[in-house]
Amino acid sequence: MADIQTGLDKLKEQYEGIHAPQELEGRLIEMESVYKRKARFAGLKSWGERAAVFVCCAVAGITLISNINASAAEAMQKIPIIGAVSKVVTFRSYKSGDADIKTPHVTGLGDKKTEQKLNKEFDKYSDAIIAQYEADVKDMGSDPHVAVSSSYKVLVDNSSQLTIVMNTVVAKGDSMETDWYYNIDKKTGKLLKLSDVFRSGTDYIKPINAYISGEINKNPDDYFMEDDKFTSIASDQNFYINKDGKLVLVFDEASIAPAYKGVIEFTVPTDIISGILPEDGLVH
């Protein structure tokens, strides 16, 4: 037995003498740097979620009613109209250190109250990001390593719909990207919640979940399969309606898939939800 023990010790010594070529370290370091650019790190998650939750709560209760043209509204059975000539402009630009935060304001909606309410939401969104940035800089002392960039884009602006996306990237070692969508139905003057896209009282969650689960199962390696596995959309899931009138569900970075995959989107084929859509809705 002494012989085999000696033999095994010798094997172990030889085995541990094998080293990976230098090239492997380079390859892995490159992968790590890609990961670091994309991944959300632990501290950032709560930051982003705070911002997202804040925005979500802030907009959920708002219904934008435009009554710019009272006589036209009355003529159209009191359906309020939002002006089709709305404009979105940069109202405020905050630049400090590595922060560049643009706040949009909408003009030309017609109803000043509606406009003010929506613009107030944009202000709150930016204020929350600026406050967090300033707190982070303060916490980090003389060598702050945080960068924030927040801007907006008008995704759709036609006679029936205005959709604005707020894109925010926060980098603290790693980076996290958030897209938050505002969809306004110009015909009803409503800032849409996901449930508003469908006929009142219908179950939209089930068919959407079935579709998304099916898509995930086609490429399961691209998504979380254990912790954080996709189970269901939220009733107020982040979404937008694209220029083709298709419903797109949006998931935050690292919520259902690895952080390096970024923000995840699913475009829902209209035929699977056609039975629960209103006749004159924005999705078709």
């Binding site: 012989d3 085999i4 033999g7 030889q14 080293h19 990976a20 492997l24 399969m225």
Partner: protein, 156 residues
């Protein structure tokens, strides 16, 4: 618990261990590096599950072994119908006696021996890594040790 980027640092710091395991299957440098890179890529996708260091190590070894086996299977499939030739150029490590000595063992037996003696894993841990019952692991191990003893004596 480790933060997400710690697991990646672990793969880099301990790359030799995963490389050796991959090498024991694929037997050439480039393929072994490809396997380890693939393992790192898979770790990306499961990063949240790998925060527990102990679980992460088990997971990394298991995925290294499975990725190596998949690699060989794919290579075999791709070469089906082609004239017989070497699977990748053998390199200098083949000169190392460790793989010559372990050559009489099949992949499973060799891996159990490597995990037990080279990586200091106990049977319970090997059972988790390989997805086999502990008693099965022990049976294979003792049978492998018998073969290995004969091989070592033969070489002596």
């Amino acid at each position: 618990m480790e933060s997400d980027d710690r697991i990646f640092r672990r793969i880099i710091d301990q790359r030799d261990r995963f490389y050796r395991m991959a090498y024991s299957y694929v037997r050439n440098e480039q393929d072994a590096m490809d396997v380890v890179q693939e393992v790192a890529c898979k770790a990306f996708k499961h990063i949240k599950e790998l925060r527990d260091p102990e679980y992460a190590e088990t997971w990394l070894f298991r995925v290294t072994i499975n990725t190596s086996i998949d690699f060989l299977r794919k290579q075999k499939h791709e070469q089906a119908g082609l004239p017989e030739h070497d699977n990748g150029a053998p390199d200098s490590y083949d000169k190392l006696a460790v793989f010559d000595t372990l050559r009489p063992l099949d992949d499973t037996s060799r891996t159990i021996v490597v995990l037990h003696h080279m990586e200091d894993k106990n049977f319970e841990q090997i059972s988790c890594i390989m997805g086999k019952n502990v008693n099965t692991v022990k049976t294979i191990y003792y049978r492998a040790m018998k073969t290995l003893k004969e091989q070592i004596e033969k070489e002596a």
